[in-house]
Amino acid sequence: MDFTLKIWRQEDANAQGSMKEYKVTDISAETSFLEMLDVLNQNLIEKGEDVISFDNDCREGVCGTCSLYINGEAHGPKKLVTTCQLYMRSFKDGQTIYVEPFRANSFPVVKDLVVDRSAFERIQQAGGYVSFNAGGAPDANAIPIAKEDAADAFDAAECIGCGACVATCKNSSAMLFVSAKVSQFAYLPQGRVEATERVLNMVNQMDNEGFGNCTNTGACEVECPKGISLENIARLNREFLKANVVPK
């Protein structure tokens, strides 16, 4: 398959970027999107040009490192997959593909398609954990947890922190991410202990990082590669309301 690529190139954080056109030819349908970019970069190296920087790590859809806004959608046109799990068979032969970095002022561009998502790390540090003394291994069933709660907590914990929700949201809101990180603990007795501080601190950090406000368009849920549900945002709102109005 042959493709025309229009890719965002930007020297560094302070440089003015622009879209540049590239061609790739003889790409097999089974090539992943990132492998296709590898082929393009190999061509650029052979020509002595600067390679295109993009984030990637595990390439099996679990690490949350890859990003990219492909043809107007975070992680490309296919639902429930990350860019590394997107294959060129999802495109038409000869198609023009636009590749842009995730856009949000809270995710500044580092170079080309690489953005700095450390704002998410700082939100996590503000409360996305449980504190306990590890000690010896506790009995696995010492604290009974309902099957449904365990399942819901696990669904929320599937969030890989990729930032597609922010990139997609017209308001650059980080609510889906934060709601997943709050929910994964909100369901579990171990998480309830610090629930109040957690939600207050994480929301506070989210606001300080300059993300926009959620207007419930639901775009994040559709584009999230892990299918994190909007119900988590409703829960985050509830937890936040409770933390503010119920006296401790």
Binding site: N213, E223, R238, N244
Partner: protein, 213 residues
């Protein structure tokens, strides 16, 4: 509490509570208006009640405050949200993941606001301050809707309000955290039915009085 009201979620909760309040106002308003169909006496009586009843008089001020809070908060949130992304995408496909109504709340809201100003001028200001001579309230309404342009503006405004509510209704439940998965579908369809009721209900009155003239 201070922090709550300036936080992103706190501000959304203000948006949603004022939204709920305005929804209740719309239900009351539509109920009163429907009395127009019961003829001049019924409507003049209902209108007289609204103009003199003590509770309604107090509610007027609360209503105005609710509107102002909703409008100021809505505009300020929109400005903040826009400033969160300075460089726009070259290619973006929002219609792949969200509804028209949800993306255009600010536009439907501002158009409803413009209509609101016109509407207050047409009836509220005339009744309260200018005076309508020896016309009854019923005659004032029926006279106004004799103009097709006037009727058209009103109907368009009601449709815009319906679009605003088709997202706003369910959104308000989500903002307050009341949108459990269990109720999600129900709230969505109730919201759409309610939006249609509001748009069709108010429009029907305008059109009816436009045509009987």
């Amino acid at each position: 509490m201070n922090k709550f009201l300036t936080s992103s979620i706190g501000r959304k909760i203000v948006m949603s509570l004022t939204g709920f309040f305005l929804i209740i106002f719309l239900i009351v308003h539509l109920s009163i208006n429907l009395s127009l169909f019961w003829g001049p006496n019924a409507f003049n009586e209902a209108s007289e009640f609204m103009a003199t009843n003590g509770v309604i008089q107090v509610m007027q001020y609360i209503l105005a405050a609710g509107f102002i809070l909703h409008i100021i908060q809505g505009i300020s949130l929109e400005l903040k949200n826009r400033s969160a992304r300075s460089i726009k995408y070259v290619v973006n496909k929002p219609s792949e993941n969200s509804t028209f109504a949800s993306r255009n709340m600010i536009y439907t809201g501002i158009l409803v606001l413009l209509f609101l100003i016109l509407h207050l001028w047409d009836f509220f200001v005339q009744l309260k301050f200018v005076g309508i001579g020896n016309l009854t309230d019923y005659e004032l309404v029926t006279n106004r809707f004799s103009s097709p342009l006037f009727t058209a503006i009103y109907v368009i405004a009601f449709v815009l309000l319906g679009i605003h509510l088709s997202h706003g209704f369910q959104s308000a439940f989500q903002s307050t955290g009341a949108n459990y998965n269990k109720y999600k579908k129900c709230l969505k369809y109730t919201g759409i039915a309610f939006s249609i009721l509001i748009a069709v209900g108010f429009s029907a009155i305008a059109l009816y009085f436009s045509f009987i003239n």
